[in-house]
């Protein structure tokens, strides 16, 4: 049975609807995704290599990219540390409220970013619940890069927890027992045997959190302060350029971000392939 658009099925199938299903899928994707992305690519290309380079390396652009990527990295790193702890605690221990806490981890997935943004700002502003506590010490969080970090930690946490959790759940108890029988203390077992085995999942979680943080907009712009060169994130710069009708510049920055995001996705796939090769499919 032949497919639509000259795509032949690798194996003949008695099940109907392939042409219809694939045709609809491809049309939908083209209209919604491919053509708009093509527009982006064309626009970016129309700048020419030097024009593109010029825009991307403009001081303000570089600063925005730096702010976005550096703080995203730090936030993702923080999420790795606490995400592993949270995953560990949720999987390995029993305590009252555990199931509730497990549900809470998904909150950043479900809560609209703007809502998170204003809520975080309210908390960390000088008169907020936490900002108020820190203000006497001269520590400011809202409207500074620290605020950006807090917001990015918020939205990135579920990624690490949810990638590490299933691997931890499937972890064979016998491996821990074997390590103990060989004389390893609990600390040695955890750090020499278990965490290394979790490393691929941890890395995946890190990369996912990082990628999400880099592109994050709604949670960040309220708490950020948005001062160019200091606390202005790259997505905000794109929006500003659009509002100025500098489509070309906005596109260039967007293309740069996409390029880096593409590399990140590639990394994730490579890590997962490496993980499969190393630990093998049992």
């Amino acid at each position: 049975m032949a497919g639509a658009r000259g795509l032949a099925l690798k194996r003949p199938s008695a099940i109907p609807g392939f042409g219809l299903a694939l045709g609809f899928t491809l049309t939908y994707l083209s209209l919604i995704v491919l053509i708009p992305l093509a527009a982006l690519a064309i626009k970016a290309a129309s700048l020419g290599a030097s024009g593109f380079w010029e825009i991307v390396t403009a001081p303000r652009t570089l600063a925005a990219l730096r702010v976005s990527f550096v703080i995203s990295f730090i936030a993702a790193a923080i999420n790795v540390v606490f995400g592993v702890i949270v995953a560990w605690v949720l999987v390995r221990y029993r305590f009252p409220g555990r199931r509730l806490l497990d549900a809470v981890v998904d909150l950043p997935f479900a809560l609209p970013t703007a809502v998170a943004g204003i809520a975080l700002t309210a908390i960390y502003a000088r008169n907020g619940w936490i900002g108020g506590l820190l203000d006497p010490f001269g520590i400011k969080i809202a409207y500074t890069p620290w605020g950006i970090g807090v917001a990015l930690v918020f939205i990135g946490l579920p990624f690490v927890v949810r990638t590490v959790q299933p691997v931890l759940e499937d972890f064979e108890r016998e491996i821990e027992e074997a390590a103990a029988s060989l004389g390893a203390s609990r600390r040695q077992t955890v750090f020499m045997v278990m965490l290394p085995a979790l490393l691929p999942a941890i890395l995946t979680g890190f990369v996912l959190a990082f990628a999400r943080a880099v592109g994050e907009y709604g949670s960040v712009i309220f708490i950020a302060g948005n001062i160019p060169f200091v606390s202005e994130i790259a997505p905000l710069l794109i929006v500003i350029k659009l509002e100025e009708f500098s489509y070309a510049q906005a596109t260039a920055i967007a293309a740069a971000m996409l390029g880096i995001a593409f590399i990140v996705v590639l990394l994730v796939n490579l890590i997962q392939a490496w993980q499969r090769k190393r630990s093998g499919h049992e």
């Binding site: 074997a178 029988s181 060989l182 004389g183 390893a184 085995a197 190393r278 630990s279 093998g280």
Partner: protein, 381 residues
């Protein structure tokens, strides 16, 4: 391969070639005597072990044999330190083993699913037990590498030290698991269904290999299995367990030839069973006496057990077990025949040479050459 590979290390670091079994010279090389005294283990309300006692002699290879739920794994885990009995004692030589944590017990564990550290190479796996020792007792890196090399030779995996477990076959992985357990010079080796995850052929090969290794190194070894063929083939002594109790302990021959209960008889090898009565020293089947002497057995109902292979055709003399052939089939190089025996038509299975010719419905009379009688004590629990 005849090399008596030396991997035993006195902690002073000098190597001494060892011939035959590990020399008993004190320290860890001394194979250990294990005493289990009245060990009870209940989980909540469910008892897994009902007061089990046994002695394991130094250098013995002992099998814990039983169906699932018999408590054999629980007992092994208690020996390993992975579980604590509800009551009872466990002694390693004269020391109270229950006071020791898993790490302190110096016990080598081998699991059914290998439990190898997937992110480490074969060499790193084997050397793990040495690397985690506290500084004072840790051998130098060169020393560790040397020992690992010696162990790899012992288990015949020398070329594979840089491989990862995922790149090995099941049989190879299990041998690495062995080497890893041996690296710490354990006082006791505990194997939990070590060949359960392997193909039949690999299983057979590794059984032979295990016996060789055991003879070479001489550790006190306990292994758990539900495969009675494996237990009988490998072990010096077999401990048969059922429902948390020891049914019988003995050499494989004793267990096979002189099982002391219906359970052991039917669990080991094949069995056929007939309900009979003992009347004044005679065995009576459905009111008909059999020409089998039962001196010394109490009068009353009993069960007669015999193996299908242990019967002979008896067409002449009166008093053999009469029956009708219900089915005939081939079994290996012989014939298996289902017989409805006695006046009440009890189903038994017998084996006769392949020359036997008969047809369904035909009358037949058989006599067991070897058999055992188990009087019904109280009503069966």
């Amino acid at each position: 391969m005849d090399a008596r590979v030396d991997y035993s290390m006195k902690d002073a670091g000098t190597l001494e070639p060892v011939r035959g079994r590990v020399r008993a010279e004190g320290g860890w090389e001394n194979p250990m005597h294990v005493t289990v005294e009245n060990v009870v283990r209940t989980f909540g309300l469910t008892p897994a072990l009902h007061g089990v006692s046994l002695d394991i002699y130094p250098g013995e290879l002992v099998a814990l044999l039983g169906p699932s739920g018999s408590g054999k794994t629980t007992l092994l885990r208690i020996l390993a330190g992975l579980d604590i009995p509800t009551s009872g004692r466990v002694l390693f030589d004269q020391d109270d083993a229950l006071k020791l944590t898993v790490q302190e017990r110096h016990v080598g564990l081998v699991f059914q699913n290998y439990a190898l550290f997937r992110h480490m190479t074969v060499a790193q796996n084997i050397g793990f037990g040495l690397r985690v020792r506290p500084r004072s007792r840790r051998p130098s890196r060169k020393e560790i590498a040397r020992r690992v090399g010696a162990l790899l030779e012992l288990v015949q995996l020398s070329r594979l030290e840089k491989r990862y477990p995922s790149q090995l076959s099941g049989g190879q992985r299990q041998r690495v698991a062995f080497a890893r357990a041996l690296a710490i010079e354990p006082r006791l080796l505990l194997l939990d269904e070590p060949f359960g995850a392997l193909d039949a052929q690999v299983r057979r090969d590794l059984r032979r290999w295990l016996r060789e290794i055991h003879d070479k190194t001489g550790h006190t070894t306990v292994f758990v299995t539900h495969d009675q063929e494996e237990a009988l083939e490998l072990a010096d002594r077999v401990v048969v367990l059922s429902h948390g109790r020891i049914e019988q302990i003995g050499t494989p021959d004793e267990i096979y030839d002189a099982p002391n209960s219906p359970f052991v008889f039917s669990f080991i090898g094949e069995s056929s069973e007939l309900p009979v009565r003992v009347e004044r020293g005679n065995i009576v089947l459905d009111e008909v006496p059999l020409p089998l002497a039962a001196k010394g057995y109490p009068d009353g109902p009993a069960r007669l057990f015999f193996r299908p292979q242990d019967v002979e055709l008896d067409s002449g003399a009166p008093g053999a077990i009469p029956g009708t052939i219900a089915a005939i089939r081939r079994h290996g190089g012989a014939r298996r025949i289902d017989v409805e025996a006695g006046l009440d038509g009890h189903r038994i299975e017998i084996e006769l040479p392949s020359q036997f010719e008969g047809s369904v419905g035909q009358g037949i009379a058989v006599l067991p050459r070897r058999w055992r009688l188990y009087p019904d004590a109280a009503p069966e629990a």
